[in-house]
């Protein structure tokens, strides 16, 4: 019986290769997720938070620093795999010819694609975990107060969501003419999706279009689920939205990216 490509040893061989490269300089690679939340907590939590009395969330007022702390985890869960799928995958495909080398082995293009998706998802989960650990340290020092009973759900949910975000990025990687054009999916898609999502501020508009956009935005469901986990101690109703939107994104984008990459990498029409 043929295994799904995501479970095939060949996809995981690609993951191993990317991980080996990444962790050769782990002390550099892991700095951003460790330092970024500290900087953001200082800047937004204490800086901007000093001007904000509280943020309304599910009928209660949260201190702004408590509101954005889970948002930082969600933001990392989105941006890490998304930018891996955009820039890092493009460099491996186009400049380093890593994919061409892989395709001379038993590894097929679908395994290369799933290897990239899984690797980006794992890196996203790792970064989200590091940010969560930094928040835990902040909690221990009394900087902010969060609930930790269900925090262990963050890594697997971040992995699933990260795979979906990477698959979206790989659709763009398959079609951009050059690395300079990556600015289009990075800034016209990535940044708006990351910001219009309840990560750093609540989307309280009652306009039906805005409500629909937010409801369809998987980053919104990731942010709200993580906020429920870290404030209330359970995933809340947004978990269904997280699973539905990221599942749908992965279900659409992974086959689409494969189709487009067949054209780009193999020259098939």
């Amino acid at each position: 019986m043929r295994l799904p490509a995501a479970l095939d040893w060949r996809s995981w061989a690609v993951v191993r290769r990317n991980a080996r490269v990444y962790f050769r300089t782990w002390h550099i690679g892991l700095l951003p997720p460790a330092l970024e939340p500290v900087v953001f907590l200082l800047a937004f939590g204490f800086g901007l938070g000093g001007y904000v009395a509280g943020v309304p969330w599910r009928g209660e007022q949260l201190p702004y620093i408590v509101y954005i702390a889970p948002g930082l985890v969600a933001y990392t869960t989105f941006t890490t795999p998304y930018f891996q799928g955009l820039y890092a995958a493009y460099v491996r495909m186009h400049y380093q010819k890593t994919w061409d080398g892989l395709l001379t082995t038993q590894v097929e293009l679908e395994h290369v694609l799933w290897g990239e998706i899984l690797w980006a998802g794992l890196l996203g989960a790792l970064f989200a975990t590091i940010v969560t650990v930094v928040l835990l340290v902040c909690h221990c020092f009394g900087i902010l107060t969060l609930t930790w009973t269900a925090a262990a759900l963050i890594p697997p949910l971040a992995f699933l969501a990260g795979c979906a975000f990477a698959s979206l990025a790989l659709v763009f990687t398959a079609i951009v003419p050059s690395i300079d054009h990556m600015n289009l999916p990075a800034f016209l898609v990535g940044i708006p999706v990351a910001v219009i999502s309840d990560t750093y501020f609540p989307m309280t508009s009652e306009h039906p279009v805005i409500i629909a956009i937010v409801a369809c935005n998987p980053v919104h469901h990731v942010a709200e689920t993580f906020r429920s986990l870290l404030v209330l101690g359970h995933p809340g109703a947004n978990l269904v939205g997280l699973l539905a939107t990221t599942g749908a994104l992965l279900g659409v984008c992974a086959p689409l990216a494969l189709h487009l990459l067949r054209r780009r990498v193999l020259g098939e029409r």
Binding site: W9, R10, A13, R16, R17, R20, V21, R24, Q96, K97, T98, D100, G101, L102, L103, T104, T105, Q106, V107, L266, G267, E268, R269
Partner: protein, 307 residues
């Protein structure tokens, strides 16, 4: 099973491929037995690389069949790819890793795993002269050593069929000879080798059989000598272009169905069959010319003229 009853290492029948709406390869057959080298030969755009890419599974043919050791490539793709080694025209070395790591990591892309990999890598590096550079990154190697590493990487998992796409393009003469020795060594070890090249001397020296392609079609096939005899003849007459009476000369060639050759640095190289040499001498008794043995360059020039 006797050698003659055993299926060839590679047998491709009627390979056809369209890319971007253009017919790039048109019903090409390639057969290669163990311990032999088949050269795919032809000018740029002849369809060599596309044919090779179909053979090693990078591209799917629109029609045609590919069998390795009698097994269908479509039906048994994963297992067959375990037995194939590929050295592409472009360097695809993993610059993130050292020479030895390149071999180890590449071997990791095959199942069943390569037995006793550390010893295999050490032996292979020794064989191709890369041991002193084992810990270096590929970017620090010269072109010739990078190519050796590409070839070593292509055989690290012990394939029975090896594809070499223009293995010496861009190398200096010494590095080319080193690669030739390496290819010959691999042939002696029993590998079936399919190579593309546009260096005629390379094709002639390395190949047991040639498949000559032009505009996606097979022009001819056979040993280098058979191909030359069939396509060119036994002699090549070399004359200065400005020494001939153009009208008489062109008329004589046309009457014998010989295409007017292109002048190369002011010289015309005219392929002639055995009896035609005597007729030529009789027709142009006052003309100063030299006669030489034909080679594959003449075939290449003939294909270029046809274009």
């Amino acid at each position: 099973m006797s050698d003659s009853a055993r299926p060839p290492a590679l047998e491709a029948i009627g390979l056809t491929k369209r890319l971007g709406g253009r017919l790039v390869v048109d019903a090409v057959d390639v057969v290669c037995a163990a311990g032999t080298v088949v050269g795919l030969l032809g000018p740029n755009g002849a369809g060599k690389t596309t044919t090779l890419r179909m053979l090693y599974g990078f591209l799917s043919p629109d029609s045609g069949a590919i069998r390795y050791h009698g097994r269908d490539f479509v039906q048994d793709r994963e297992a067959i790819k375990r037995t194939i080694g590929v050295c592409t025209q472009d360097d695809t070395l993993d610059e993130e890793f050292s020479v030895a790591q390149n071999l180890a990591i590449y071997a990791g892309y095959f199942r069943p795993r390569v037995p006793d990999l550390a010893a295999r890598i050490a032996g292979l590096m020794d064989e191709v002269g890369l041991t002193p550079f084992a810990a270096q990154r590929p970017v620090t190697l010269s072109g010739g050593f990078r190519r050796r590493l590409m070839i070593a990487r292509a055989v690290v998992h012990g394939p029975s069929v090896l594809f070499l796409d223009e293995p010496t393009t861009g190398l200096d003469p010494q590095a080319r000879v080193d690669v030739w020795r390496l290819v010959d060594q691999l042939r002696t070890q029993g590998l079936a080798i399919i190579l593309t090249t546009h260096y005629m001397d390379e094709a002639e020296r390395l190949s047991d059989r040639l498949v000559v392609l032009d505009r996606g079609r097979r022009v001819t096939e056979g040993s280098p000598r058979e191909v030359i005899d069939e396509q060119i003849g036994e002699h090549v007459v070399v004359v200065h272009a400005d020494a001939v009476d153009a009208a008489a000369f062109h008329g004589w060639l046309a009457s014998r169905g010989i295409a007017l050759p292109a002048a190369v640095l002011g010289q015309l190289h005219i392929p002639l069959r055995g009896a035609q040499l005597g007729e030529f001498t009789a027709a142009f008794p006052d003309l100063r010319f030299t006669v030489r043995e034909p080679d594959l360059d003449d075939l290449f020039m003939r294909l270029a003229v046809r274009r």
